[in-house]
């Protein structure tokens, strides 16, 4: 089955997902649905519940109610490692690379090739990131000595090393210059063009407009609005709660 024939298939979705932390509503009746091969961006105010939604999708947090499906399989009760086995990869908002290990060692501990399917294309994606992000030539450098952009690139590549089908990236361009952000977007778009499904949380609207097929806006745990970059950035409500007017 080729990637193209099932490109309209839903690869990951939630149904009426709810999560509260005490009195704070982090997810409220969230119905998110992302197709195979999509490049989706998730935006919304600080504290809206974007990272929480990623945690729920990966199983790091348990939903209070609702359902999550990955590749047509109900995963709501599965452990994180079981979801990773299905092909889910997450880059956290905070850096998680081992600070005292080199780039090379960080990559080799991530390279557990969990997926047996689609090996060739997954290997291609991994190699693409390795060379574009110049991680081979700098392999001996320790993570703790890397500037922010390199650390982000390392962590994105660490995710690809486990051969995922869906990649969740939480603020992958934080700490990058305008130029590095643009470059990161171009590499992610190339990865996406190979059929990889990518969901990104970002506050950098320039980046979001550049990469997204579709944007979901979260606000106070709820899906507030959904649409193209143009629709979302022209929405008066989205300007009010998030974008501002400067």
């Amino acid at each position: 089955m080729s990637m193209l024939t099932d490109s309209n298939q839903i690869i990951i979705s939630t149904h009426n997902l709810n999560k509260k932390f005490g009195g704070i509503v982090a997810a409220k009746d969230v119905n998110l649905s992302v197709n195979t091969g999509e490049f989706r961006c998730l935006i919304g105010p600080n504290g809206a519940g974007k990272s929480t939604l990623f945690s729920l999708l990966c199983g790091i947090e348990r939903a209070d109610s609702g359902e999550i499906r990955i590749l047509n399989k109900e995963v709501t009760k599965l452990k994180p490692f079981q979801r990773i086995k299905l092909g889910l990869g997450l880059k956290f908002q905070t850096n998680r690379a081992f600070q005292s290990l080199s780039i090379k060692d960080n990559l080799s501990i991530s390279n557990n090739k969990i997926q047996v399917m689609d090996n060739e294309i997954a290997e291609e994606r991994y190699q693409l990131a390795l060379s574009e992000f110049k991680l081979k030539s700098e392999g001996a450098k320790l993570a703790r000595e890397l500037p922010h952009n390199m650390l982000q690139w390392l962590e994105i590549t660490m995710i690809l090393a486990s051969f995922p089908k869906i990649v969740l990236l939480d603020e992958p361009t934080a700490g990058m210059s305008v130029e590095e952000t643009l470059f990161t977007g171009s590499v992610l778009k190339r990865l996406n063009a190979t059929g990889l499904t990518i969901i990104v949380v970002e506050h950098d609207m320039q980046f979001v407009k550049d990469v997204a097929n579709k944007i979901t806006v979260l606000h106070e745990g709820e899906i507030f609005s959904e649409g193209t970059a143009e629709e979302v950035s022209n929405s008066e409500e989205v300007k009010n709660i998030y974008l501002g007017r400067d």
């Binding site: 932390f21 919304g44 105010p45 600080n46 504290g47 809206a48 974007k50 990272s51 908002q93 905070t94 850096n95 000595e145 500037p147 922010h148 952009n149 390199m150 603020e171 934080a174 700490g175 990058m176 210059s177 305008v178 130029e179 590095e180 506050h203 609207m205 709660i241 998030y242 974008l243 501002g244 007017r245 400067d246």
Partner: protein, 233 residues
């Protein structure tokens, strides 16, 4: 004499010398930006000022004190507030205790909590929440609030707009201007967000490969294309 004076400072990590002789001065009341590519030494310079990285040679003076042999907390007590890149709040402590940690280092009479809550009202409702469970942007705001509680003479911020939603980035830039105007706080910051640099700074330095390569006046700082060209040098 200037409030802050860095004279030919060298510092770095085990395997590399990052700063190759950084000299710059800040006068009381200024809002100074340091811009430049990633990896040129901006954060290393900030950490060297704070005392997290040792000065190999050269000298740093703050408010007529020589900082070279002082511990981090001693430098903080002199009136240097620090907002690190990637926040670095205490994840196990409550929001309230994180703010108190800032208060321990007070120099001038500390700013009252109400002032800080005025800028970041959500903190008031979250005093008991563990810092580590705040969202990324909320942690950044806590980190700024914590630095402010000590009412520093010099507030140093390393990429304060990182992870902050667009309309709050605007608000933070406005409140820094307000702090500067109404609470006599001098500001030094590193930032990649051109909008923020343009709005906040009245003077700037460009850093490249561990040295200062250019100094920017207000007029140059208000020209976005010129700024962008300086950052990508």
């Amino acid at each position: 004499m200037s409030l802050f004076d860095s004279q030919n400072v060298f510092s770095g990590y085990k395997t590399s010398n990052v700063l190759q002789g950084v000299s710059l001065q800040i006068n009381s009341g200024e809002m100074v930006a340091i811009i430049g590519r990633n990896g040129v030494g901006k954060t290393t310079f900030i950490k060297t000022i704070i005392g997290l990285i040792e000065i190999r040679s050269g000298e740093i003076f703050f408010d007529e004190n020589r900082l070279n042999n002082l511990e981090s907390f001693e430098r903080a007590k002199l009136g240097i507030g620090y907002v690190p890149q990637g926040r670095d709040i205490f994840p196990q402590l409550s929001v309230k205790d994180n703010l108190r940690m800032g208060g321990f280092l007070k120099t001038k009479p500390s700013l009252d909590f109400d002032l800080v809550f005025n800028y970041f009202p959500f903190l008031k409702d979250r005093l008991q929440q563990r810092g580590g469970t705040l969202s990324g942007g909320e942690q950044e705001m806590l980190s700024i609030a914590r630095a402010l509680i000590s009412n520093p003479k010099l507030l140093i911020l390393d990429e304060p707009s990182e992870g902050i939603q667009p309309n709050i980035v605007q608000e933070i830039s406005e409140f820094l201007l307000d702090l500067n105007a109404n609470h006599n706080i001098t500001v030094l910051f590193v930032e990649q967000n051109i909008y923020f640099v343009k709005k906040v700074a009245n003077r700037g330095y460009v850093m490249n490969k561990g040295v200062i390569t250019n100094e920017l006046n207000k007029e140059q700082l208000s020209n976005e294309d010129y700024l962008a060209s300086q950052i990508t040098i």
